[in-house]
């Protein structure tokens, strides 16, 4: 059995619903007239499972083409954009705004098919770090380090 879109959708929402129900059982459910903290998440979790049943039903009844094979090449833009975000998040506390900006621009450069040359990348990184440094550190005074 190969993964089709409805099957994958069903599995995603089944696990989300199951997760919500599992977490909600750890909270006090309360009664209908006095809802506890677990009541609403439990209802949502059950509804999610019902919705996932519809997706799974669709997956069984009709023929859907399987989701194409996922290769590194096909998810490269996503992977690189996420890597750039992650690198920025990790580096901003340690290395400061300027270096993390350079890091983000350099990593995200690889995400597209049309790539910026190295010199324009360097210029872009320099211009952007000067701009955000001025705007967010100097003018708006966000609690950020500029340098390590």
């Amino acid at each position: 059995m190969s993964l089709s879109k409805p099957l994958l959708s069903g599995l995603i929402f089944l696990s989300l619903g199951g997760f919500m129900i599992a977490h909600a059982t750890g909270l006090r459910l309360g009664t209908v007239s006095a809802m506890g903290p677990g009541f609403f998440p439990m209802v949502i979790g059950i509804l999610m499972c019902l919705v996932s049943a519809v997706f799974l039903g669709q997956a069984c009844t009709s023929k859907h083409p399987a989701v194409g094979t996922i290769s590194v090449a096909s998810v490269r833009p996503l992977l690189l954009v996420i890597t750039a975000l992650g690198a920025f998040a990790i580096s901003i506390d340690k290395f400061g705004l300027i270096l993390s900006t350079v890091l983000l621009v350099t990593i995200s450069r690889f995400a597209g098919d049309e790539r910026l040359g190295w010199l324009p990348t360097a210029v872009l990184a320099a211009v952007l770090s000067a701009f955000v440094g001025y705007l967010f550190w100097y003018v708006l005074k966000l609690p950020l380090q500029l340098w390590p």
Binding site: K5, S9, I12, F13, L16, M20, H23, L27, R28, T31, V32, S33, A34, M35, G36, P37, G38, F39, F40, P41, I44, G45, L47, M48, V51, S52, V54, F55, P77, L78, V81, I82, A84, L85, G86, F88, A89, I90, I92, D93, T101, L104, V105, S108, R109, A111, G112, D113, E114, R115, L116, P120, L124, L128, V132, F136, L140, L142, P143, L144
Partner: protein, 507 residues
């Protein structure tokens, strides 16, 4: 207070130099970012929202409104000149706007679009001033059961009337409601889904979700796309303006029809500009003597939907501000912003915050005038913004998204959350799930839970009051009507598709 006293209060607020400046900045920056290909109004507002968090509520809302219609107009420019709509509501404008641009009439199409938006919007503002206080008075009769039913209607409509499958819309609403339960439960003080991480104790800010599901996902999708639409070069001279105004004079019917359609759909909870533009377009097509011109550059195909778009956007303020039930995801973000500023939208807003309400209404009109005055001369500039290569743009946008997310709570944890939402948003978008309902669910979730709890407390756990209280019963009946309509039309489509398959097989 009568209307004129209210209006003078509104204009005195909106015309104060500071607020005028915020309005101007909002309109300009909104258009500038909205014009950037692949950045729609949703992403534009999400990116610019953190900027307004430092302002006082009135100024922030005025600036946000400016950003909103600025970005809508910017999105229309991209649709007409580049054939890439930034928002579903602009998709219709592409149909005739882009052919016009290819015939060398891009400037004409843009002026018609701006003038139609202006007229449709101005008329809608007049109706908002008359109707909003009435709706608010009606809303004063609402209590928790009515609010609960109203919110259910709004969410069902948002899931059912948007494009794509109804059940996927419902799934996304549920996902949003689920994400909305993360954090401290306000009634009991219990931590839900926080896993002892104090960064989650205050819940998840909707801006982070919006940036992940809309802005970053849009960027990744753009990067995956191979072929790019070609930009139509547009020159614009003042001589074209007089010609455009002359042809606009023939568009009155289309503009008025668009305004009426837009206002009706915008004012209804759960529907918004997107449906309004589609209905307005088909209305123009059926009214026209020669409907074959449509799709090849009919000016009515630009004027009607653009008037409807702006009229619906402004009418959407009525349910959002007076009942607290937004019509679409953009209005939901406006509502979320108000909540951040400590204002709970509802029937009391007009009475309790007259400066906010009337100031906003007045600034809507001023903003529309500014948009017109600013944009017609600047058409050439906006067209040039479109030529900025994407490889230069997206790293810059990613950087501003990151810093924007950081600035909401001044913590890096939120950037990690952004990365998580980007992946989830991307996967769900690949599986054809609509993104707007998740945002509505997240913003409205805590309100729904609260009203449900209060209603059940009032009725001592008896669900029947949702059906015995007349207003609540009507709202739930309307919800049922939408569900039945969606199911019936889905079955019909499936039957037609099967019939088509069979004839193909026979041939």
């Amino acid at each position: 207070m009568d209307l004129f006293a209210n209006l003078s209060l509104g204009f005195s607020v909106a015309l104060s130099p500071a607020n005028l400046l915020y309005c101007l900045v909002g309109v300009t920056v909104g258009t500038l970012i909205g014009v950037l290909p692949g950045i729609g109004p949703m992403a534009t507002i999400a990116i610019l929202l953190p900027v307004t968090f430092g302002l006082d509520p009135v100024a922030a809302l005025i600036m946000l409104a400016g950003i909103y219609y600025g970005s809508m107009y910017g999105s229309a420019i991209t649709s007409i000149l580049l054939n890439t709509p930034g928002h579903a509501a602009s998709a219709v404008v592409c149909l005739d706007g882009y052919p016009l641009a290819r015939n060398g009439q891009g400037g004409l199409a843009l002026v018609i679009s701006a003038l139609s938006s202006f007229v449709g919007g101005s008329l809608a503002i007049i109706l908002v001033m008359t109707f909003a206080p009435m709706v608010a008075e009606f809303g004063l009769r609402f209590s928790s059961p009515e609010y609960f039913s109203m919110l259910i209607l709004g969410l069902t409509a948002a899931a059912g009337l948007s494009q794509g499958s109804f059940i996927k819309g419902i799934a996304m609403v549920l996902l949003g409601l689920g994400i909305g339960t993360v954090g401290t439960d306000l009634t009991s003080g219990v931590q839900r889904f926080t896993f002892d991480n104090w960064n989650l104790a205050d819940g998840i800010n909707f801006v982070i979700l919006a940036m992940g599901f809309f802005a970053v996902t849009e960027i990744v999708f753009n990067l995956e796309q191979k072929g790019r639409s070609t930009l139509v070069h547009t020159r614009f001279a003042m001589a074209d303006l007089t010609a455009a105004v002359r042809s606009f004079a023939r568009m009155w019917g289309a503009v008025l029809r668009g305004f009426g359609i837009g206002f009706t759909f915008g004012a209804l909870p759960g529907s918004g500009p997107t449906i309004a533009t589609f209905v307005a377009y088909s209305a123009e097509k059926s009214v026209a003597r020669d409907s074959s011109r449509f799709g090849k550059g009919a000016l009515e195909g630009v004027a009607g939907p653009e008037s409807a778009n702006n009229s619906a956007s402004i009418a959407g303020l009525i349910p959002t501000l007076t009942l607290g039930v937004p019509g679409d995801a953009i209005m939901a973000m406006m509502l979320g912003a108000l909540l951040i500023f400590g204002i709970t939208p509802g029937p009391g807003v007009i009475v309790d915050e007259p400066e906010l309400f009337w100031g906003l209404v007045a600034s809507l009109w001023i903003g529309n005038v500014l948009l017109l005055a600013l944009n017609i001369p600047l058409i050439g500039v906006w067209a040039r913004v479109l030529t900025i290569p994407y490889k230069l743009l997206y790293p810059s946008i990613l950087l501003f998204i990151c810093i924007g997310v950081f600035s909401i709570n001044n913590r890096t944890f939120d950037i990690g959350l952004l990365a998580l939402f980007s992946v989830v948003g991307y996967v769900l978008a690949k599986l054809d799930f609509p993104a707007a309902p998740v945002l509505l669910g997240l913003i409205l979730g805590p309100m729904i839970e609260d009203h449900l709890r209060r209603a059940l407390l009032m009725g001592r756990g008896d669900f029947s009051m949702f059906f015995t209280r007349p207003i609540s019963a009507i709202l739930l009946l309307a919800t049922l009507g939408i569900v039945i309509y969606v199911i019936v039309s889905t079955i019909q489509q499936a039957r037609q598709a099967r019939a088509r398959d069979e004839t193909e097989v026979r041939q």
